[in-house]
């Protein structure tokens, strides 16, 4: 397991470094923040002073070096937009996104396992066809449209849910989570169904059936354990996507998460916050990928055996 982990950490660290460096350089190609943060009539001296204070007067490699040195001391700089610590802004925003992603994936996996297993147990039945149709539809619906329709129907029309916001009871979770949930759920139902159809046709399942095992025992006791590996892999990728892509949900529903923070930082050329947000997100995705790989290896010994020491 240790060699497997070592190999995975090294291979996953490469894209992590590329993303962090790439964002650093690309951000500086988008324009000079001085134009956004100083008044129209700012003098050349004021512009120079501002650039020097922010370190923008240095060459890009020098800026990168300073960034890396400071980041090693957990100093991510100050937000140009708010004057607050970039690190604290990111730390405040990240749990919001993690909560959304966590709740969403918990519900998506649970629901997909139930629906996908049911569909797989009786292939081509009415239940299977309905599940397939709904899951394909769910996987295809645009987040933005679903969110706005949810607000109009369940918020304004029926008056059952708040339109948006983060303060309140459990009801405030419903529309944001439903919006985030719909695509992973649709994808996972199809993956679970496919894996379960294969698993349920395996000889050991036929033997279990011939010995009189109940359908529940056959599905959840025998087949699911062997069908779970591809489901975990896809669920891991989807979770990474959720952490990275909750932008629409956070924007529409006013959730101050990392996605919205990143978009705002890009639009406002707030480099310190953008870099801190990308670094933390990239490290989280890195950790998630390792976690998925470990789960994968634990459930399927062939995975860890395939990695040379």
């Amino acid at each position: 397991m240790i060699p497997f982990l070592r190999k995975r950490v090294i291979s996953s660290a490469v894209p992590l470094v590329c993303v962090v460096l790439g964002v650093f350089f690309l951000a500086r190609m988008t324009g000079d923040p001085v134009d956004l943060y100083l008044p129209l009539s700012a003098t050349a001296e004021q512009r120079a002073e501002f650039s020097a204070a922010q370190g923008f007067d240095l060459s890009v490699p020098e800026q990168l070096w300073n960034y890396l040195v400071n980041a090693a001391h957990l100093d991510f700089g100050t937000s140009l937009r708010t004057g607050q610590s970039a690190g604290s802004m990111v730390i405040d925003a990240f749990p919001v996104t993690l909560q959304l992603a966590g709740v969403t994936m918990l519900l998506a996996i649970t629901g997909a396992v139930l629906v996908g297993s049911l569909a797989a147990y009786r292939p081509n039945s009415l239940i299977d066809r309905v599940a397939s149709l709904l899951s394909m539809t769910a996987a295809s619906i645009p987040d933005f449209w679903f969110a706005i329709m949810g607000v109009l129907v369940f918020g304004v029309g029926l008056g059952l849910l708040p339109t948006s916001g983060t303060l309140g009871g459990p009801e405030i979770w419903v529309l944001p989570v439903a919006t985030l949930l719909i695509r992973p759920f649709g994808v996972l139902v199809q993956v679970v169904r496919g894996s379960m159809v294969t698993a349920l046709s395996a000889p050991y399942v036929k033997i279990a059936r011939s010995k009189g095992a109940t359908p529940r025992r056959v599905v959840f006791g025998h087949a699911l354990r062997n069908a779970v590996t591809p489901v975990l892999t896809v669920a891991g990728d989807l979770t990474v996507g959720l952490v990275n892509g909750a932008v629409i949900v956070e924007t529409i529903f006013g959730w101050p998460g990392i996605g919205k923070l990143m978009i705002d930082s890009i639009l406002q050329r707030d480099f310190a916050v953008l870099q801190a947000a990308v670094l933390l997100t990239a490290v989280t995705i890195f950790a998630l990928n390792i976690l998925v790989d470990v789960c994968h290896a634990l459930t399927d010994p062939r995975v860890r055996q395939a990695v040379p020491a």
Binding site: T30, G31, D32, D35, L36, L38, P39, L40, S41, A42, T43, Q46, E49, F50, T82, G83, Q84, M89, D92, A93, P95, V96, L98, Q99, A101, G102, V103, T104, M105, L106, I109, I148, V151, L152, G155, V156, G159, P162, T163, S164, G165, T166, L167, G168, G169, P170, I172, A235, T239, T251, I252, G254, P256, I266, L267, Q268, R269, L288, L291, C295
Partner: protein, 509 residues
């Protein structure tokens, strides 16, 4: 699954920890306002930024004088009277009995400190650039009740400029901008939950009439349909910047917001350096069609950069009617003289500038192509758009037609012309010596002569410069709950005065 469970278990419900939602319940005591974005700061010297000013100005802090958005007259606020006591000096009598929200009394020394901090300091305040340019002011508190302000050159509209300086106590930081201010206004900041809401409490020591609502709470939603839904659902009393598609509802009201849209034509680059081509573009624009079809009828076709109500606006300048045949003829004439009319012109517009901006850019592209010009559209974000908008202008990008939206909240064309029409104005690509001279002359005048001078030079722009093909004087759209009464005016988008909001008679909360 493990991760999801762990996150749930560890985080608890940190997000969901308060009843009543972000805006709070409709309790009749709290005025709930939904903005488009979170203010980056509440620093008073940044109050000329829309996102900051809409919360701060005349709610938390106040200036010495304020401009009536409808009549254009200056009204006393923290100064009771003012007069020009020397060619370069204005004297202000300061209101007595005013206290700051921290309990300190307000005197002329605070006013002097505030002006000095906003205009003469190294803080690089936005109000400095927009309102005062590079000129410093000499400010002196003669005594606690009197203030003198001296300018480098005679300035007939100094009190108007000072209406943009929000007064803060002398204890305010002079080395750095503050995030949360103290002022003399009717509301004080109670809390700022970063990312979620700003709450204000009524200031019981306020010198003026007490506002009707004991509290105010601001939240922000970037999607206009969600802002509108919050009014429909009773989650907010006021929602700013709604889409034209909401215009027919009883809960929305349109108001002229002093914004004007126009195409700025870069007169340094062929084919836009030829006045016939610029005139052709001006003639090609179908203003009525754009207003009706793309702006929901919530605008007026424009022929000048400032709308009615601003000193310098001329009723005699009408919006040009579309004349495609004449425009084509002008382009052909220029082409015959060797002007490269087939050179690609980049039409740059900013995402989110107004509702329907991308469709408007495409319509303009079509109309310019109709007369034989080669145009491509580039939609840009704010920072990129600023690079095209402000000097130093980008090099080697070819001819640019920039879609701009100019808001003149100061109420005087001097603020427009110094930026957009001077040859070397920060937002101008070119000009003429004649126009520069007329702008300088107009800026030194006052009263009727000032009005006539600015009206004349705006007409001169259309006749001999044509740097701008004006599109429309815009309207804002406000969502208002039936439970309140409020009449928006042209300043509402930048200065939403909460004291002017009253509960509707018989409204249930």
């Amino acid at each position: 699954m493990l991760l999801a469970g762990a996150v749930l278990m560890s985080s608890g419900c940190a997000v969901a920890n308060s009843a009543g939602g972000d805006t709070g319940r409709a309790d009749g005591r709290t005025l709930r306002v939904v903005l488009t974005q979170e203010p980056p700061t509440l620093e008073p010297c940044e109050a000329s930024l829309t996102g900051t000013g809409v919360v701060v100005r005349s709610n938390i802090t106040e200036p010495l004088v304020e401009r009536d958005p409808t009549s254009g007259e200056l009204n006393p606020l923290l100064a009771t009277t003012w007069k020009q006591t020397a060619p370069r000096t204005w004297t202000f009598d300061i209101r007595s009995g005013v206290t700051f929200q921290n309990g300190a009394p307000f005197t002329a020394k605070d006013a002097a400190f505030s002006i000095d901090r906003a205009v003469n300091s190294d803080l690089a305040c936005n109000v400095e650039g927009y309102v005062f340019g590079n000129d410093d002011l000499e400010v002196e508190a003669v005594n606690d009740g009197r203030l003198t302000v001296t300018t480098e050159k005679p300035d007939p509209i100094l009190p108007l400029r000072l209406s943009f300086v929000e007064i803060v106590p002398r204890t305010t930081d002079t080395e750095a901008k503050v995030r949360v201010p103290v002022g003399t206004g009717p509301y004080a900041v109670r809390s700022w939950q970063a990312g979620a809401a700003i709450s204000l409490d009524r200031f019981d020591g306020y010198w003026g009439e007490a506002p009707a609502f004991a509290r105010a709470r601001y939240v922000w939603r970037s999607d206009a349909s969600v802002r509108a839904a919050m009014i429909d659902k009773g989650e907010a009393e006021i929602a700013v910047a709604l889409d034209p598609m909401e215009a027919e509802k009883d809960t929305t009201v349109a108001y002229p917001n002093n914004e004007t849209t126009a195409l700025r034509l870069d007169g340094r680059e062929p084919p836009l350096d030829d006045i016939r081509v610029r005139r052709a573009i001006d003639s090609a624009v179908d203003r009525d069609g754009i207003v009706d079809a793309l702006l929901g009828g919530l605008a007026e076709p424009a022929g000048q950069l400032v709308p009615p109500g601003v000193v310098g606006h001329s009723d005699g300048i009408e919006a040009p009617r579309q004349d495609v045949a004449e425009a084509r003829a002008l382009v052909r004439e220029a082409e015959a003289d060797g002007v490269p009319t087939d050179r690609q012109i980049t039409l740059v517009a900013r995402n989110g500038m107004f509702s329907g901006v991308s469709e408007t850019a495409e319509a303009l592209q079509y109309q310019m192509r109709q007369i034989g010009l080669n145009v491509r559209v580039r939609m840009a974000d704010t920072a990129t758009h600023l690079q095209y908008q402000l000097r130093p202008l980008p090099e080697d990008v070819g001819p640019v037609a920039l879609l701009i939206m100019h808001g003149n909240q100061a109420g005087d064309a001097a603020f427009t012309t110094s930026q957009y029409l001077l040859s070397d104005g920060p937002q101008s690509t070119f000009g003429t010596e004649t126009l520069d001279r007329r702008i300088a002359e107009a800026g030194a005048l006052s009263g009727h002569e000032r009005q006539q001078a600015f009206a004349g030079l705006l007409a001169e722009q259309n006749e001999s410069v044509v740097q701008y093909a004006h599109l429309a004087h815009m309207n804002g759209l406000l969502g208002l709950s039936p439970s309140i009464r409020y009449e928006p005016d042209s300043a509402t988008g930048d200065e939403l005065r909460l004291t002017e909001v009253r509960p509707a008679e018989g409204a249930k909360h």
